[in-house]
Point group: C2
DNA sequence: GTAATACCTAAACCTGACTTTAGGTCAAGA
DNA sequence: TCTTGACCTAAAGTCAGGTTTAGGTATTAC
């Protein structure tokens, strides 16, 4: 059993945020001892799930829904599984987006390296949009598709 | 040359958002014809850069700074390059985070598949935290590290 | 000539996710 | 005793990134 201060240190999450999560219903089963929150292993795992679902782009109110399902028992297993499957798809999509963004960034790094060498963008402008060096062309095309 | 409506369709960005970007100084060189915005190729490329920098986690005010550097000429090439290098690092970090999140999601999918098969979480609770099937253990450990 | 479109501005409003404030309880140590 | 530190609440405040509203202009279509 942990106090809110211990949990805050463990996860580097502000105490105010933990209280906010609690107020939003993200720890529906959490116990209290004369008003003071007692975080058990259950809540510790809940926090890991909250961070995971948040990173996957889920909103607090939908995380609350998930936590509610968890208290409902085995009848909600398949709902819970489907939620995680959807989050997997969302993350996959986001990773593709990030890869495309990465290609743009790599292209821009090359672009400015070259501009620094040349002292201007004249040569670069002549090469755009489809006479770039092969490896750079790939980045440019992916970023602009 | 494009109107705001054409650009909105091209990029699937609301007109209100394009006007907001303009108000925030993200198109410092944009021309107008009797009050009406004229988006040139320069602004089209600016929008691609805006989307890229936004995805990388940069705030609007910092994107504005970048756009201002672009109007200052060759003296800011190295500042601009450094910005893109930093964004690359940010994206790399984010991708690692997403990979960890993905491992958690995969673990949870397996977890609920198994719970559905078993009808309860008893067997699963016996396996936790370090007697999971090998491939699942890897996901679990990565997600909980 | 009038009605429909597509554009414009300034300013108010909205949303999600927190954070801060103001005021209070309770237990341990000097 | 009294003060320090860790906890508590309700309610207000903050911030980024837009969106909506209200009112206006300018061109084209019938």
């Amino acid at each position: 059993m942990y106090t809110i201060g211990q949990i805050s240190e463990m996860f580097h999450i502000p105490i105010s945020t933990l209280r906010y999560y609690d107020k939003e219903g993200l720890f529906p089963e959490m116990e209290r001892k004369s008003g003071i929150r007692k975080f058990s292993e259950k809540e510790v795992e809940a926090i890991r799930v909250i961070e995971c679902l948040k990173t996957s782009g889920l909103e607090i109110k939908d995380i609350k829904q998930f936590m509610a399902w968890c208290t409902e028992g085995p009848s909600t297993y398949s709902k819970r599984k489907e939620l995680f499957e959807k989050r997997k798809e969302a993350i996959e999509k986001e990773m593709k987006q990030l890869q495309k963004t990465m290609d743009m960034l790599k292209f821009k790094c090359w672009y400015y390296e070259t501009a620094i060498e040349d002292g201007n963008e004249d040569h670069l402008n002549q090469m755009l949009p489809d006479h770039l060096p092969k490896d750079i062309q790939v980045l440019y095309d992916n970023a602009h598709s």
